[in-house]
Symmetry: C2
Subunit: 254 residues, 2 copies
Amino acid sequence: MIKISIIGYGNVAQHLIHAFMQNPTIQIEQVFVRKPEKVSYLHPSIKVTSDWSQLLPSDIFIIAVSDDAIAEVSSSLPLKNQFVVHTSGSVELEQISNHNRRGVFYPLQTFTKNKTVDFTTIPICIESEFSADLEILKNLAVAISEKTYIINSQQRKALHVAAVFVNNFVNHMYQIGSEICQENQIPFSILESLIAETASKITNLSPKEAQTGPAKRDDQRTIATHVAFLESNEMHQNIYKLLTQSIQKNEQEL
Amino acid sequence: MIKISIIGYGNVAQHLIHAFMQNPTIQIEQVFVRKPEKVSYLHPSIKVTSDWSQLLPSDIFIIAVSDDAIAEVSSSLPLKNQFVVHTSGSVELEQISNHNRRGVFYPLQTFTKNKTVDFTTIPICIESEFSADLEILKNLAVAISEKTYIINSQQRKALHVAAVFVNNFVNHMYQIGSEICQENQIPFSILESLIAETASKITNLSPKEAQTGPAKRDDQRTIATHVAFLESNEMHQNIYKLLTQSIQKNEQEL
């Protein structure tokens, strides 16, 4: 049985609590939250506190707060030599106060409010200051996910940048696609099948092999037509030009 | 029974032939291909010709060749007042020679060689010069797909630009993500779950609602860290900056 306490009650915290509660080898000792009224709908078996002095002993204290607050929250913890981890993709292990043994438990996924996700397929990236603690983190990760990766802080930073490209920026491409559809009285749902196929393709092909389209084919006529079509939206036009240029640069290099 | 002939034997032609052959209400009369030796592995029941004068009567002649060749191929056809359609997202109906009744049969999907796709979920965008012909196209589309849309040439052009964003550019984001992973000794497969979730999210949420990340949160510290991280690759850095700017512009406007 792994005893854990969770500090924070944002998006990631809520999804973690949900996943941990499904697993009999994990016991949620406590949830720390500044405004306890917010968590009134938590399962009654979970103890809630908003008082640092009331923290219960746990094997792992998981700080699941916004990136900017991690350093401060970890300094506020009235603990010594306990195992304290954060869940962020972009914060170094060193930002956790060194009063405690430090670690990272980073689930690499995009969490949306009120949308449950299947944790078993979510990669958990773990890192710890001391190797003995890595075993505890491994056990916790394996309990909820089929995919555990040992990733150091430098790699995690790279991974977070890569995740911005394949998640945030990809979603922004969807956004632009939906705006173009809307302006032309086309239902955005028409693109759903294409979006699904584009994403599923790369489980079998490398992105390099999967690349198609006018930029890849160097189809100058189509590119010129598209650039002219985007004339009324300078930002979309600039994005089209830059990404076309980048795809063509890749074709020349690779 | 709808009798069709297909002119061309590229990616789209091959996928269409595969889909049509599954359906008993469609009869492939003939495939026209300049080099018949290329199609030796076609089903023996399908007649192949490379001689314009040998074309057999059909309800629909489908020109499935590269965009640049559509006008020329349609002019070469020794036919009058027949129903001739192309399959392109970016070519106007008018580029088909006006010796014949013109139309468009555009399956909105990315076709990869040697990877079969489920046509039933692929939207078919149809357009025709004469309304009577639209009925023939509708019957053909409904025979292989659950989703048929009547889309005019102007809308189709918009749709093609939108498709470049949600398919070609999205795949390029995957490519950049995979390069960043490779440079940092991280397996790209770690991002698969995130990529799948990002794509599946927008079947329930609008891209606007689904947007997350440092740009959306206006998290200047993380953005600065990421821009610094990308210092060694100017193109990736420029893309990061431009897309971040575009997401932030959206947040202010919407």
